[in-house]
């Protein structure tokens, strides 16, 4: 492949925006309740954006919307300057510019294909060199021994399978890599291997990355910026370190305080257990979705839905009573 850009492979200028979501709303046809209730965020070239939230926050739906697998009810989704690729339309090249690593390493590899076949397929389809030596290079890239080439996925461990999935996704040189809970199904000692691998690869391959996880500590290890989601909305977004050390949204505080830690004095001891109760079972039509669990909620929170507002140059919060400075 030539190093210069072409129509299918524009060179992405550093600092430019590769993915934009503007007030995106998504609901499934079968349900009245919206999954995404107005999500706004951007991904810049070369950065890793961590998306964190608990079940029902819509983080997986977010990824699938960016890929164009789910249609939006309203709002704008822009990927690399164009529409999301989707599955049906678009030439293979535009689809290949953004790739996904699935959560379950057991399900994302065809159980009846050998590792070599699994890795060769995307190369062949997209017109890349797909020789055995190229496949071996891919295995080297993710730190796997060449002996796995003729194995079936069932013969590999979860960590090894996830590395194959990463190698496959990166083999066609995507500009954007989406990772859906890539380490959640792995043992903690193996999690660290894969986390380190992702960090290294991003440095060497230069892709932009969205890393979705329910585990705030894991996301802290990979992300430059973090977006905290709750029930279909981004409630806070900003630089990882500052969001985690000085969270402004009450939910971010509760989330950070709930993360199990090895410290003897857990971070933000005073924040612990502040998010009482559970996510509401009935849909709220107005106001802040977090208000039923929030200790600083007022009557304003009942009626007025907070919007993402810039707090500092690198932080946005959707809250009527943001905490901290």
């Amino acid at each position: 492949m030539s190093r210069g850009g072409d129509l299918m492979n524009p060179i992405i200028a550093a600092g430019s925006t590769v993915v934009t979501l503007q007030d995106v709303r998504v609901s499934y046809r079968s349900r009245a309740e919206p999954i995404l209730r107005g999500v706004t965020l951007t991904l810049s070239a070369g950065e890793t954006l961590g998306v964190v939230g608990e079940s029902g926050c819509g983080k997986t739906t977010l990824l699938r919307t960016i890929l164009g697998l789910i249609p939006t009810d309203s709002g704008v989704v822009e990927v690399l300057g164009g529409d999301p690729p989707g599955l049906k339309d678009g030439s293979p090249a535009s689809r290949a510019a953004i790739q996904l690593v699935h959560q379950d390493p057991f399900a994302s590899l065809n159980p009846r294909m050998t590792i070599r076949q699994i890795l060769q397929a995307p190369l062949r389809i997209n017109g890349y060199e797909h020789s055995a030596s190229r496949v071996r290079e891919l295995l080297d890239m993710v730190g796997l021994s060449h002996s796995v080439l003729e194995n079936l996925p069932a013969q590999l461990s979860g960590g090894q399978r996830q590395r194959i999935a990463i190698a496959r996704a990166l083999s066609i040189k995507p500009k954007v890599l989406l990772l859906d809970e890539p380490v959640s199904a792995l043992d903690v000692s193996v999690q660290a291997q894969v986390i380190n691998l992702i960090n290294d690869l991003q440095g060497s391959q230069g892709f932009s990355c969205i890393f979705v996880s329910h585990d705030l500590a894991v996301v802290a290890q990979v992300a430059n910026r973090i977006a905290v989601m709750y029930l279909g909305q981004v409630v806070e977004i900003g630089d990882t370190d500052s969001v985690l050390t000085e969270p402004a949204h009450p939910y971010s505080m509760a989330l950070a305080a709930s993360v199990p830690s090895l410290r003897q004095e857990p971070r933000g001891e005073s924040w612990r257990g502040l998010a009482v109760g559970e996510p509401p079972s009935e849909m709220m039509t107005s106001g802040c979705t977090f208000r039923s669990r929030c200790w600083v909620a007022t009557s304003r929170c009942d009626v007025e839905t907070p919007r993402l507002v810039e707090r500092t140059s690198s932080r946005q919060v959707a809250c009527h009573h943001p905490q901290g400075r």
Binding site: P92, N110, P111, A121, I125, N126, R168, A169
Partner: protein, 269 residues
């Protein structure tokens, strides 16, 4: 799986495959193996099994051993012929239906229902009455009335595999419809489909034998069912005329079902 059960499974797999292979080999080699033309009168009628006629003779003195060998040929021809028709139609309908879904799926499944609802045996009788009883006609009739069950199985399997993450991954890196169906989905549904196919074919064999039993087989080719059926009146005295063809039917059908069962157990292991 414990090692004892594992060994039993291997035995079962080997014996059923051997059964099917022996059947096919005998079918192919019948013209050379059979000592006599099965239609020729070569001995006394109703002669018990002897050195000259290992399986005895039938009512009018035709050698039963040759009859059984040529019967193997007929039944194998019919089963293979039906398999060819059924596999082609069922795979096309099932894969397309399962993968594309929507209106195409509804349409194809309505057609499959029509074919499924038809009572196969009686339709065969009517068709034979109308079009004659040649082997080729029988293959077409049985083929057309048997594909819909297999198509449903293929469709169901395709539907479940289609939702897998690895299929989505394939679509995301640009795998087109044909490649996704044949390279990604097909290898994953093949074992289940193979199981169902062997069961289907053994049933086809039994239907053919039943039709021949009541005299509706092709008169120009020997069929096991015909041999058994033609000697109904003599069962008590000349048991060999019914027993040997009957055993042949039994073993052929059993080999098929056993093979299917063994493949199924391997997948469940």
């Amino acid at each position: 799986m414990s090692s004892l059960r594992s060994r039993i499974w291997v035995l079962r797999l080997i014996s059923s495959t051997a059964g099917v292979l022996v059947w096919l080999l005998l079918a192919m080699a019948a013209p050379w193996l059979a000592p006599h033309d099965p239609f020729l009168v070569v001995g006394e009628g109703l002669a018990a099994p002897s050195w000259h006629h290992p399986l005895g003779t039938d009512l009018i003195g035709r050698d039963l051993f040759s009859g059984v060998l040529f019967g193997a040929r007929t039944s194998a021809t019919i089963v293979v012929g039906v398999a060819a028709i059924v596999v082609v139609i069922a795979f096309i309908v099932g894969l397309v239906s399962g993968y594309l879904g929507g209106i195409i799926d509804d349409f194809l499944m309505r057609i499959a229902e029509i074919f499924q609802v038809v009572p196969r045996f009686f339709l065969a009788i009517v068709a034979i009455a109308y079009f004659g009883s040649g082997v080729d006609r029988l293959i077409v009739i049985l083929g057309l009335t048997s594909w819909s069950g297999l198509a449903r199985v293929i469709r169901a399997e395709t539907l479940s595999v289609r939702e897998s993450a690895f299929i989505e991954a394939a679509q995301l890196f640009g795998s087109g419809i044909f490649r996704t169906i044949f390279r990604e989905i097909l290898p994953n549904i093949a074992p289940t489909v193979a199981v169902y196919l062997t069961l289907l074919l053994s049933r086809v064999l039994l239907v053919e034998a039943s039709l021949a039993f009541i005299g509706l087989s092709d008169p120009s080719s020997i069929s096991w069912g015909y041999l058994a059926g033609s000697s109904q009146a003599y069962l008590r005295s000349a048991w060999w005329i019914a027993v040997f063809p009957g055993l042949a039917i039994l073993m052929a059908a059993l080999s098929l079902t056993s093979l299917g069962d063994a493949i199924g157990r391997r997948e469940r292991k």
